[in-house]
Symmetry: C2
Amino acid sequence: MSRQDRLALSLVVEPGDARLRDLLQVHEPRQILQAVRDRRPLEDRPVPAAWSERVGDLDRRLALVTSRAESAGLRWICPGDTGWPAALDDLDHLAPLHGVTGAPLGLWVRGAGVLADLCRQSAAVVGARDCTTYGAECASEIGADLADGGWTVVSGAAFGIDGCAHRGALSMARPTVAVLACGADVDYPRAHSTLLDRIAENGLVVSEQAPGEGPMKGRFLSRNRIIAGLTLGTVVVEAALRSGSLNTLNWADQLGRTTMAVPGPVTSKQSGGTHEAVRGGRAVLVTSGREVVGELSGLGLDSTGALTLPSTEFDRLPPTARVTLDGLGWDRERSLTDLTARARLSAREVRSALELLERRGLAARRGDGWRLVRRADVS
Amino acid sequence: MSRQDRLALSLVVEPGDARLRDLLQVHEPRQILQAVRDRRPLEDRPVPAAWSERVGDLDRRLALVTSRAESAGLRWICPGDTGWPAALDDLDHLAPLHGVTGAPLGLWVRGAGVLADLCRQSAAVVGARDCTTYGAECASEIGADLADGGWTVVSGAAFGIDGCAHRGALSMARPTVAVLACGADVDYPRAHSTLLDRIAENGLVVSEQAPGEGPMKGRFLSRNRIIAGLTLGTVVVEAALRSGSLNTLNWADQLGRTTMAVPGPVTSKQSGGTHEAVRGGRAVLVTSGREVVGELSGLGLDSTGALTLPSTEFDRLPPTARVTLDGLGWDRERSLTDLTARARLSAREVRSALELLERRGLAARRGDGWRLVRRADVS
């Protein structure tokens, strides 16, 4: 009954806690749950006291959550279930960001869709809550274009860009997926309760938070990793410098998914973050849903909008990995410090890029250094 | 009297004619002029008949041009003269574009400035004639910011972006350089005659066309190579897809100078060409004069606007050369066809990129193929 163990564990551990990811790499959910109950370490690894404190009234909370889920029409899906999107498992390989990482233990879903089917061809369209009219139009257009082309729009159902992206998809009578930072039965923002109902009609409202949970601050960051993890790529439509919406782009980049950003007037603060992402090589500039599809299909569009040659393996690497790859040599190992300086990225970004390059058989670690194994080549 | 030979030759051969560039690589201007007069080939190379037809009334035209130049206050400057910008000589290494290439034989200049001094720290700011209000504002701002930072704005004095860029520089009481497709004494466009006078007060109005010559169609394309050749980099502020303003960017790219483009609303046709240039890796996205300076100084700006680490040799390569370099291997020679397919560029672009890589000691030709000599590395 790993499904029930996972559900129980999700009520004890804050979803996305990086320490849980580490434990799950070695132990079964049931063993972890038992250790939490027994307040004993798992092998040499201590189990956080806060988890044990929450385990006291677990049975009562399980009953409550189950009844809430039933009355709201929520289903609990887990790794191994039909409908579980395998793409989420990539989250298990990521370095923690603000203490958050890992695939979710499971997801609560509300609505008619099948998550894995919906996400097979999907793109995240996200951005600022306080967007401009221009940004709202772009998000609606891109959402509608993607949906019209058979792509599922995944977003966070927030005010601004998120809501417009969902509505764009709904306007084409196509399903869309909302991932919430609160329970999937909680209408947040409240003014979007009708929107959320509309989304659930053909698509899905999704959350790793238990039914009834509120949208606490840290939960937006952990929710964003799921938006990035469910999709082939993330488009940021509008984001000011250091906006939270860039966080989803960051997760997508770490995951090796395609990262994209929409430009806007340079006089607009809400395009400051998207422009910086493009300038810094962290996102590809896109101006339409058609271009988004082109990027996600590994195809380019020429100036007439026609599809061009398939891209190379190198092109399909996320920007951070491309820059990191450029710093690697055949001749000798290079240190992380050296590579970080060359790439002009953070050590964390370079570490994660190296892991990706290693998974794709392009780089190898020897001792403290990294070197090229082979060049990224034409597919 | 090579200066006078060059002047005479410039009245016989349409400036920018690629055939002249080829002859000048082997022969002195005087020898070429003599061959034109004698209607005989130079070694085995024929001298175009059209040149010889124009040589008939050369003495009369020389006298006319000299008197026009005198009354308009134009000076003729040549390679070897103080004030001749050596940067123009790079044009001699470029493959022809529409039959045009090569450093100018000399330039007619009007105004108080010294061209080489003005161009030492300079940027081309160019774009659409029929620009939007947004584009006009961007061009003025960038022109003013560059001028304020001690950078000379070079442009084409056309309506739209060009005029705004010049005016931005003039608004800071700094010199600016206009390069015309007609004689430097011809007010084109006529409505800009006061602007051209203002430019000449502290800066320069420049042309390779003889005094009195009109702005014929092909001359805009050959004029653009001079704008690119005089400057460290070119910024396109607004350009529709396939706009002529992208031609200057193209010359800058071929020259290995920095290529930049300003984004705008994706709904604006006048930003279609700049967005495509950024998407295609042919230009770096810039949003301000400060960022332009950052790119030209080989420095990056972080999100707070502070300068970051100097860029690597790889970063300083133009985009076409970077993509071409990525396609080269150590293991074996690769053919031009192969490299063109990998780079998704035109054969002409790849050929020119390979020449640049060869000049910088990064690539070498062996037989019909090309291979890596060393990797572009940290400076």
